[in-house]
């Protein structure tokens, strides 16, 4: 049993743990602290928790000011608001000057399934990835989310992490990922070996890629390599080249638009490498309401079946 039931729970609890070790850690929410779980921090460290009300732009710039006095602010809201509504504030003051502000895009992707397109983020990674010098993180489970938050607290500079709202399969064990590892940003974990096709996935879709790999082996005898790409930017080109050198084709899978997310990052990095790439992701559409998360993911083709089909299709090109 993992330490945290969801990524957002990992966010709230990890910040409390970090807050005990470092009194520079502050948390800001925009009246969504119950959802982001940032509000848990307020109970432990009320003086370092800033409820900013429904005003994300002000929240982002206030975080800039706090960082200028030596604090390490973690700013949280839904991914769609914190990257969209407060984009300019993040870009102009925080990113240009490289301020030490950590941004948490909570309820990322379609994970806030009930609330529909206004609350679901299909382009948060695209926005953050376009920012020069930005670090964009997309953990695959709650344990990795916690490790990434610990990394964010110790490493200087602006960073973005996308956090899922719902429970998701555990892929890592507590303590398996070392946030102090010097090559932390070069992490790209091969979770399953295979030499026919590489399934490069991020976030919720990593567990789906593992499932797809099992199906490909059982049904077709295809050996799929499954890789968790959780550092979306800077994407480690050398590591990527090493990972794909022995496969014939590549499939990317993400709970994000195929424009500007993991698929784009992989294709950009491999643009001089003649390997076909199929992208599983949201196909240039907005989200929509559904009664359940699984149902919604399925309707957007974010399933093991879709990854399996994409692998067969792209391998047939060979």
């Amino acid at each position: 049993m993992a330490k945290y039931p969801t990524q957002r729970e990992a966010y709230g609890q990890t910040l409390i743990e970090l807050g005990a070790l470092d009194n520079r850690i502050c948390v800001l929410d925009a009246d969504l602290g119950n959802s982001t779980r940032g509000r848990a921090f307020a109970k432990e460290y009320p003086e370092r928790y800033f409820e900013m009300g429904i005003a994300e732009q002000n929240m982002m710039s206030v975080a800039a000011g706090l960082s200028l006095t030596g604090k390490i602010p973690f700013v949280s809201s839904f991914a769609v608001f914190v990257t969209g509504r407060a984009y300019d504030q993040f870009r102009q003051t925080i990113s240009i000057a490289g301020l030490n502000v950590k941004v948490c895009g909570s309820s990322a992707g379609l994970s806030d399934y009930g609330d529909g397109s206004t609350h679901q983020s299909v382009e948060d990674m695209a926005l953050m990835r376009a920012i020069p010098g930005m670090v964009v993180l997309s953990p695959a489970d709650a344990t990795e989310c916690s490790a990434m938050l610990r990394y964010m607290a110790r490493a200087a500079g602006p960073m973005y992490i996308r956090v899922n709202r719902n429970s998701m399969p555990d892929l890592y064990e507590e303590g398996q990922i070392d946030p102090a590892e010097p090559g932390f940003l070069k992490r790209m974990d091969v979770l399953r070996r295979g030499k026919d096709v590489a399934l490069l996935a991020t976030g919720m879709l990593v567990s789906r890629a593992l499932e797809a790999a099992e199906r490909l082996e059982k049904k077709y005898g295809i050996q799929a390599k499954v890789v968790n790409v959780s550092v979306i930017k800077p994407i480690c080109r050398e590591k990527l080249l090493e990972i794909v050198c022995d496969v014939k084709a590549i499939v990317t899978a993400e709970e994000h638009s195929v424009i500007g997310g993991l698929g784009s990052a992989v294709v950009e990095a491999l643009s001089e490498t003649p390997k076909p790439v199929a992208m599983v992701g949201i196909q240039d559409r907005y989200g929509t309401s559904a009664r359940g998360y699984e149902e919604l993911l399925a309707s957007y083709g974010l399933t093991a079946e879709a990854i399996e089909k994409a692998a067969l299709r792209i391998m047939a090109r060979q």
Binding site: E47, R48, F50, M52, G53, A55, Q57, N58, M60, S61, V62, A63, A64, G65, L66, S67, L68, T69, G70, K71, P73, D88, Q89, R91, Q92, T93, I96, A97, G98
Partner: protein
């Protein structure tokens, strides 16, 4: 503490030299924000040469008061003041906006000493200043944070988010100064987007409000004292000013918000500043 008549006179001379340097920074034949820089010169002189605790030999001294120029387009006024103070080298003034220069078109803390935050995208500085005020207060510091806004800038909604939040958090260590020169980039504020009774608006949000003539040094100093004396709320000083103050042909004119001077106008601007001093 009341400033002596000599101190006031010295500050007036500082403001004069800041204005002369602003004209140098605008230069000949290239666009520069003359109007909104000149309207601020007296306030800037009062802050840098009287009110703010600073160590010019150590611009990053942690005990310093902070100034956020939210109306970042008035960077020329801040560069002029920092040069007058000795934090910026005189020789840099020739290099404003030149490729690779620390003197960017808008203030850049990563390139220019004495700049506290990157501003220029309007409406954000008051929030940054609020974050600083909260951070400094958290550490039990005595430092004050000053934030200069334009009146056209008050069009931006984020200013009012910050106004609400600063009142909510009762940041007594925060003073906003509105350069109420009445003219924004393309015309009079009252015509482009009327900001109305600025003092009443801030007062409604819960701020201590002070109204002054932003070119009267005694009133500026009094206003800053009153703001510092406030212990329960943030303060705002509405400083009524003239855009392009001192350069008679540019006064009150939107054309000189980011205008260009030819050689004759450059000289005329300097003559006018000396004449009006």
């Amino acid at each position: 503490m009341k400033a002596s008549e000599t101190a006031v006179q010295t500050l007036r001379e500082r403001a004069l030299r800041i204005r002369m340097r602003i004209v140098d920074l605008v230069g000949i034949g290239r666009a520069g924000h003359l109007g909104g820089s000149c309207s601020l010169a007296d306030i800037m002189a009062a802050l840098y040469f009287y009110k703010m605790r600073l160590k010019k030999e150590d611009p990053k001294w942690p005990g310093r008061d902070r100034l956020i120029l939210s109306k970042g387009h008035a960077a020329l006024c801040q560069y002029a003041a920092l040069c007058e103070l000795g934090i910026l080298d005189e020789s840099l003034l020739d290099k404003v906006k030149m490729l690779g220069s620390p003197l960017q078109g808008h203030p850049d803390m990563t390139k220019c000493p004495g700049i506290e935050a990157n501003t220029g995208s309007l409406g954000q500085g008051l929030s940054i200043a609020l974050g600083m005020a909260l951070g400094l207060r958290l550490d039990g510091g005595e430092q004050r944070v000053y934030c200069i806004l334009g009146d056209g800038e008050l069009n931006e909604g984020q200013v009012w988010e910050a106004a609400m939040a600063a009142a909510h958090y009762k940041t007594q260590n925060l003073t906003a100064i509105v350069d109420r020169n009445g003219v924004q980039a393309t015309g009079p504020v009252a015509e482009i987007m009327d900001v109305g009774d600025v003092a009443a608006k801030f007062a409604a949000f819960g701020w201590n409000t002070i109204e002054i003539d932003g070119h009267d040094m005694v009133q500026i100093l009094d206003g800053l004292e009153q703001a510092e004396a406030e212990t329960a709320r943030p303060s705002v000083i509405i400083a009524y000013t003239t855009k392009g103050k001192g350069v008679d042909f540019a006064e009150g004119k939107a054309a000189y918000h980011n205008g260009t001077l030819d050689a004759a106008q450059f000289q005329a601007a300097k003559d006018s500043i000396l004449r009006n001093a």
